[in-house]
């Protein structure tokens, strides 16, 4: 087996991993940074982010506004010291991306432009048309090529972490093109592997979003935090789940039901106004909008289609010119995939799973409970999203905390003793043998593709927009069954080069672990908060018992154990979370008392 020795190992080369790699290379060019990705970096799922990235930039906006929007949006389950740090770093990261060439959209005078986004009081979302993630990812990837200390391992799949002497010391990788294993030893390791939305059926995520890093850390004893909080994005393509960005509504789009009625006014989000109004109607937060859809469906006010019931995203009044300038990708998607020109007809949409709020818990410096192991981006739970993420906070998170992770990993690497190369290689050989055993197991003819479909269906049924104890229990039971049947999987492909049959089975193993963490955390949370809404007697938020982070602990051969940890509250005491007219009234009352 090949054995590569690096100083810092970064697993995942999307927005967070690339930002971490550049930070590490800049912090100390003499260190070798190994950057591993199971796809070419520019294929990473950051590429699909559309709307933009938050950073306070207008004179009438403040960091406090961004802080409050984020903490309220997260239904007070955020780590407030982390949010405060986050909002203070956002804009400088946006400027840094600008210097690296990101083609941010501009105002006529040449300054960067910002747009409105859901749950944000003032416009602060930097955007590059509606291909923000694409442009950011390509900018970061291309910029990363100028640092000779970054050694890329493109199309290498991580089968295990190496934890030796109580600290992270590397990883075992499978080269997809050759089927050969490589061990990488490093004095510090950063996980930047993205989310896990593919465990659900209708989702906006790319096929690669399989929770790899979460499962790897989980299996090494790191509890996964707040996994029950899974974001449904309200405006997605029926059937495929592909995303129509929130920027459609930021630019002024309407959501209407089958009667052409802007139904959000019935769910505490009014008043209705023709122009977009921040934190009201279509610019409410994602959890509330997806919940409103669910109610409309129950009331029979949605439209039935073969791909499920839908409402309409109406962009016609924005006009062709604005659509082409601000939302070209949306127009392309609607036209190519659905045969609809958004300038002429409203787009049928429904909610789909979009984002994993929870993940690998880290402190404000991105350190996980395992010494030398850091995590950043969607795979992590640094604490800024709470129970519901605001749109455009997650892209910025990649750069703020990717940067921190790169710096911290360098610091740790420089202070850490040498790796135990011999022991690391032994571990890598054992991990490789385990992966090969799955490939070659006789099994009982079970297809992993079937298990994957059943998993996605049961997650949608039990852990959807609204949740019921008995259904969540059924999902937990089903997942346990699927894990048992996983042992019966027979891989048809026993070859070495590009064995995607085998890799998909390895990914399914990760997905099942992550899905269990989600379902059990959901079942145990007997309250409603943010994206976790129950309709079986736990409809209210219960701060007395559940103003707490859930922690799912991995147990080999058993379902995870759920415990709870404290939430850091600094300057925002939990209060009523309101949008629209009520939200505005509460806010002016609060401002009045502060005067």
């Amino acid at each position: 087996m090949e054995h590569f020795e690096a100083d810092v190992l970064i697993i995942g080369a999307g927005g967070a991993g690339l930002r971490a790699a550049i930070a590490a290379a800049e912090a100390d060019p003499s260190l070798t940074v190994a950057l591993v990705s199971k796809v070419l970096p520019m294929r990473s799922h950051t590429v699909a982010a559309e709307g933009g990235a938050a950073g306070v930039t207008q004179a009438h906006d403040t960091l406090d506004n961004h802080f409050n929007d984020t903490v309220h949006g997260g239904d007070w389950l955020c780590e407030q010291d982390v949010v405060e740090f986050f909002v203070s770093r956002c804009t400088q990261e946006m400027v840094q991306l600008e210097h690296w060439g990101c083609p941010w959209s501009r105002k006529p005078d040449g300054n960067i432009n910002v747009r409105a986004f859901g749950g944000m009081k003032i416009e602060r979302t930097w955007f590059a048309a509606d291909r923000s993630g694409f442009h950011i990812l390509h900018t970061l990837f291309q910029t990363s090529t100028k640092y000779p200390s970054i050694k890329r391992f493109d199309e290498y799949f991580c089968v295990d972490l190496i934890v030796e002497d109580g600290r992270a010391q590397g990883a075992t990788l499978l080269s997809l093109s050759t089927g050969e294993f490589t061990a990488i030893s490093a004095r510090s390791v950063v996980l930047a592997t993205g989310g896990a939305g593919r465990v659900f059926r209708q989702n906006t995520n790319g096929g690669i979003v399989t929770g790899d890093g979460m499962a790897l850390a989980f299996r090494h004893g790191v509890p996964l935090r707040d996994m029950e909080f899974v974001q449904y994005h309200p405006t997605c393509m029926p059937g495929t789940g592909l995303l129509f960005t929130e920027a459609c509504r930021g630019e002024g789009g309407y959501l209407v039901n089958k009667d052409g009625y802007r139904y959000l006014q019935d769910y505490g989000l009014g008043p209705v106004s023709p122009e977009p109004r921040n934190k009201a109607m279509e610019l409410g937060p994602r959890d509330r909008l997806s919940q409103a859809f669910w109610h409309e469906e129950r009331k029979g006010r949605t439209v039935e289609t073969p791909a499920g019931s839908v409402v309409y995203l109406d962009l016609r009044h924005l006009g062709k010119a604005k659509l082409k300038e601000r939302l070209p990708l949306i127009c392309e998607l609607a036209e190519e995939f659905m045969g609809i020109d958004p300038a002429d007809a409203p787009i049928p949409v429904r909610p789909a799973v979009h984002y994993t709020m929870g993940g690998i818990p880290t402190d404000i410096r991105t350190a996980t409970p395992i010494p030398g192991l850091y995590a950043a981006g969607e795979c992590s739970s640094v604490g800024i999203h709470g129970a519901n993420r605001l749109g455009s906070n997650s892209l910025t998170e990649l750069f703020v905390f990717g940067h921190v992770a790169g710096d911290e990993a360098v610091k740790f690497a420089k202070g850490a003793p040498a790796v135990n190369a011999g022991r690391n290689l032994e571990q890598a050989k054992a991990s490789a043998a385990k992966a090969l055993a799955l490939r070659d197991q006789k099994g009982a003819g079970e297809r992993h593709a079937d298990l994957r479909k059943e998993m996605a269906l049961t997650m949608e049924k039990g852990c959807g927009i609204y949740r019921i104890g008995s259904e969540m229990q059924e999902t937990c039971d089903k997942l346990a069954e699927l894990k048992r049947r996983f042992a019966n999987v027979t891989i048809e492909d026993r070859s070495a080069a590009w064995n995607t049959d085998w890799v998909a089975a390895l990914e399914l193993g990760y997905q099942l672990d992550v899905a269990e963490a989600m379902a059990h955390s959901a079942l145990e949370r007997r309250e409603s908060r943010g994206a976790h809404q129950r309709i079986d007697g736990f409809e209210a938020r219960d701060d007395e018992h559940f103003l707490a982070h859930s922690l799912a602990h991995y147990r080999e051969g058993a379902s995870p154990e759920i415990t709870y940890g404290p939430v850091k509250i600094t300057k925002s005491k939990p209060g009523e979370r309101a949008y629209g007219a009520l939200g505005e009234a509460l806010e002016s009352k609060k401002e009045a008392t502060h005067v």
């Binding site: 990473s44 840094q96 600008e98 040449g110 093109s177 690669i208 495929t240 049959d501």
Partner: protein, 253 residues
Amino acid sequence: MSEAATLTKTVELRILRYLPASDESPSFRSFQVPYSDDMSVLQALQTIKDTLDATLSFRWSCRMAVCGSCGMMINGEPRLACNTFLRNLPPGPVTVEALKNFPIERDLVVSVGDFVKKIESIYPYIIPKEPKTVAQGTYLQTPAQLAAYESFSDCINCMLCYAACPQFGENPDFIGPGAMALLQRYNGDSRDGGQQKRLDAIAGEDGVWSCTAVGICSEVCPKHVDPANAINQNKTNSAFDFFLHYLRKDAAQ
């Protein structure tokens, strides 16, 4: 059409298979897949992999024509599988092959390493004209200045243009349309001062002059990047550059 009727309708995919461990050369194999109006070629391939033959290998991820993974030859044309819909293809079998002009690693998976090296070779990053610290804030760039390079920044690196390019087919060392578009993306950026460095990189015989102006690269681009235009601009720039170089040499003597 009733659901049962939809399900009984099938489509045949003729797929060029190649397993390096057992096959001497690639050969076609046919699969029948249930047809539906909204099915993409990618979904048809996924159906084959999930239900008929798990050994079929291909790259894919985003499903929405932005990650650039799923380029392949569909009925002889370079296309993205995810945004090519069966309903838009002529009736009869659909032929699917690995992207032309690249070595096949397996089935529909081609080698991408050389392409990535080409991208890396043209200094694909801002070389600032006037360096600035983050504390000094953003550069000004008017919408017109943005428009000067914006379309070239839309390239998703799907390599369809390389599969279409006859010149690249003849000479794999040709820098090729995608990398030229990327070069133009940075050379056209008002913040950048690295033009000379990049022009030097493409002045050799495998650079911009290898292009024979067929223009098919722009026709197959799924993102309307127009690499042919980038190449033409750089031929002009490169010619001008050559001329200047000559004058400078003259002056030095």
